[in-house]
Amino acid sequence: MNISNNILVVSIQNEMYDEIVIQLQEQILEKVHEKRLKGVLIDVSGMEIIDPYTLKLLENTTKMIRLLGAKTAFTGIKPEIVASLIVFGNISANIKVVLNVDEGLQILT
């Protein structure tokens, strides 16, 4: 986790267990509150798989960050993951996705 221009950049590496996602969620919320950050950029390119439940957790994280007054964007979702989620269907992916970290920093600033 590092902060650049009032934006918290979080990189999720390796496979994630829900418990770790929830822990990370808490850490992000604390940081946003403590440092009065404007946005959070979450890079998920290190995630092996995002199943519908994990997507829901990430969406909830976005909602919580919004309640603290900050914005969230995601980057690095693998095309294979997108394909699986679309076939699975019935998914409300109410999250903002950007092409790369640079675009994310621009949009969140």
């Binding site: 496979e15 092996e48 199943d51 519908p52 829901k56 699975f88």
Partner: protein, 130 residues
């Protein structure tokens, strides 16, 4: 291959093992993710609804036709109305609950047997040539 679902980290183990098994059979990257997503959903259902159960991953080779089969078994509460559980937007807990129709869409074959008070057995297959 057999994986016991006892704790939440076992779901990630299922995902990893299914990805490896699918890649060894020759499924492309997208199909590997599709099968892993379906398997993850079954493992999660066991963990959320039955607390514990078993996942079996089997290579299929029927008259030269290759594929992957995943069986999810538990002695949990069972599903009272299987037909309803296979409809979109059906949910008994607020976690997600849309797992079954989505899982069915991801796979080529989907079979479910469930009895209230006894448990649930779900059998899914993906064929390489389809």
């Amino acid at each position: 291959m057999h994986i016991k679902i006892i704790e939440e980290t076992d779901i990630a183990k299922v995902v990893q093992d299914v990805m490896i098994a699918a890649s060894e059979i020759g499924f492309n990257k997208t199909k590997q993710f599709i099968i892993a997503t379906a398997a993850s959903e079954l493992a999660r259902n066991i963990f959320v609804y039955a607390r514990k159960g078993d996942i079996y991953i089997k290579d299929l080779n029927v008259n030269g036709r290759k594929g992957l089969e995943i069986i999810a078994e538990d002695q949990g509460p069972g599903i009272a109305n299987v037909k309803l559980a296979l409809e979109d937007n059906y949910s008994t807990t607020e976690s997600l609950g849309i797992g079954l129709p989505g899982t069915k869409r991801l796979m080529d074959e989907f079979k479910i047997e469930s009895e209230v008070g006894k448990g649930t057995r779900i059998n899914i297959k993906k064929w390489l040539d389809l």
